[in-house]
Symmetry: C2
DNA sequence: GATTATGCGTTTGTATACAAATAATGCAAA
DNA sequence: TTTGCATTATTTGTATACAAACGCATAATC
């Protein structure tokens, strides 16, 4: 019955993701976190009733949470056909990265101007957590913390519209990584994150922006967005059939 | 009973704002249009039941429309206290304009690269409509079309995340204009819009961006965001009591 | 044998009923 | 007259019931 929702495990503790908000905030945060940690794969069907049972709330709440996620383009809401985790196409991925470059540049410049020592401390703390997660082998948490770092940086910039936009972009980026990351090495982004904080603390705007732009380059150099621009949806469908577990070089050529 | 919703008139024709979507799309579009045309003033209470009666749908639909509007920061959704049309503070207004500068620059550069002749034609058509509206004295429609011009330009740029962000920023800008515009002359933006299209058609990126930035300057030079930074909410409360209809110079001094 | 039609089961869309929270009103006391 | 409190009324939050749409499976027809 609920076999479509295999990756979603019932969260026993409402601690981390559940903020002190209303019920739909909790559901939203949990699904958002599940996507950020890639426990929910792109294309996964999100049945309202199943989710309602899992979280112990009615469909009304689930529906609102999905609506918010859909507005951030993290979830695709097809009329009369339910919600699925979005599967960004290559073109959509490019657009997201373009926007992110623009936003991250602005955020970095603002953070250099406005970030308080407390915020810089918090950022450092997050990077350490991120590093620990990766070294512990908890890739999911690492990716989530990496995303939250960029979100926190947006908060340090202190521009509300930018924060909300960044939230949408970061979660979409996570989806894109889940879908297109070439299985090379893991995200060793924490090193770049730390350098970035140093530059911001030194109030060196030029250096900070330069580091951020290189960071962006590194992120999308790990993806293979060059291929499959033609057989788009089809490839997404067949990808897990062709290379179920063996991530290898034999498929690297376009073909 | 419904005296709080005085500015909202029941739209007899569903033509312009009502797209071929589901019911909540129609409600969303109507409220959005009403805000864009400033028939709904900042702070106006948006009762779910009243709106439901007006549009002939249940609260469920209204609720979804309000939720979408809230996510675009056009409507403020206070827990257990209902929805109101947002009243941006001076600081929020500054943040919106900062973001808009950033986005409009990117949009202009992309439009120079990607705008098709058809899109340029459509843009010109919109500017003519805008000009006609102003010369006809229909200031509301003029402001709406001015906003839709910037939205259309975002579409011509062809970047989906940017479009959605721009939608949010444009509607917030309209709110800000409603709240802070000094009653000088009307928005003669259509002239600048037309020049902008010319520069884009000529594929002159530098000129187009320069025009756009000046356009942004003009927009916020019409606002008086410099004052009232201290007595923020209080002033908003008293403003319509002090100068109900007489827009004059006697109140211009900060005091 | 392939393709289209039809019925059934499941899932979403919408309305409404009930519970909870907030705002308004009236009364009493200082 | 004003301030504080208690009660009432209105409004929002949530759950659920019913209707409509979709997908799948079976069956009938070409």
């Amino acid at each position: 019955m609920n076999e479509q929702l295999q990756p979603l495990k019932k969260p026993t503790r409402v601690g981390k993701a559940g903020r002190s908000g209303t019920q739909d905030d909790i559901v939203y945060a949990h699904i958002f976190e599940a996507i950020l940690e890639q426990r929910l794969a792109p294309g996964t069907k999100l049945s309202e009733e199943a989710l309602g049972e899992i979280f112990g709330v009615s469909r009304t709440i689930i529906r609102r949470a999905l609506s918010r996620l859909a507005h951030e383009s993290v979830v695709l809401l097809r009329p009369n056909r339910g919600a699925v985790v979005a599967s960004p196409t290559v073109e959509e991925a490019r657009q997201v990265f373009f926007s992110r470059r623009m936003v991250e540049r602005a955020i970095t410049e603002l953070a250099v101007l406005h970030a308080t020592p407390e915020q810089l401390n918090e950022l450092r703390l997050m990077v350490r957590e991120e590093r620990d997660s990766f070294s512990r082998g908890d890739r999911g948490a690492g990716i989530r913390l990496s995303g939250e770092f960029h979100l926190k940086l947006a908060e340090a910039a202190g521009n509300a519209p930018l924060i909300s936009f960044q939230r949408s972009l970061v979660s979409q980026t996570s989806l894109i990584i889940a879908q297109y990351e070439s299985g090379n090495r893991s995200h060793c982004s924490y090193d770049e994150h730390m350098q970035l904080i140093d530059a911001i603390e030194a109030r060196d705007a030029e250096q900070a922006v330069s580091l951020m732009m290189h960071h962006m380059d590194h992120i999308d150099s790990k993806l293979n967005l060059d291929e499959e621009s033609a057989s788009d949806d089809l490839h997404a469908v067949f990808s897990h059939l062709l290379q179920t577990k063996k991530r290898g070089g034999s498929v690297s050529a376009k073909g």
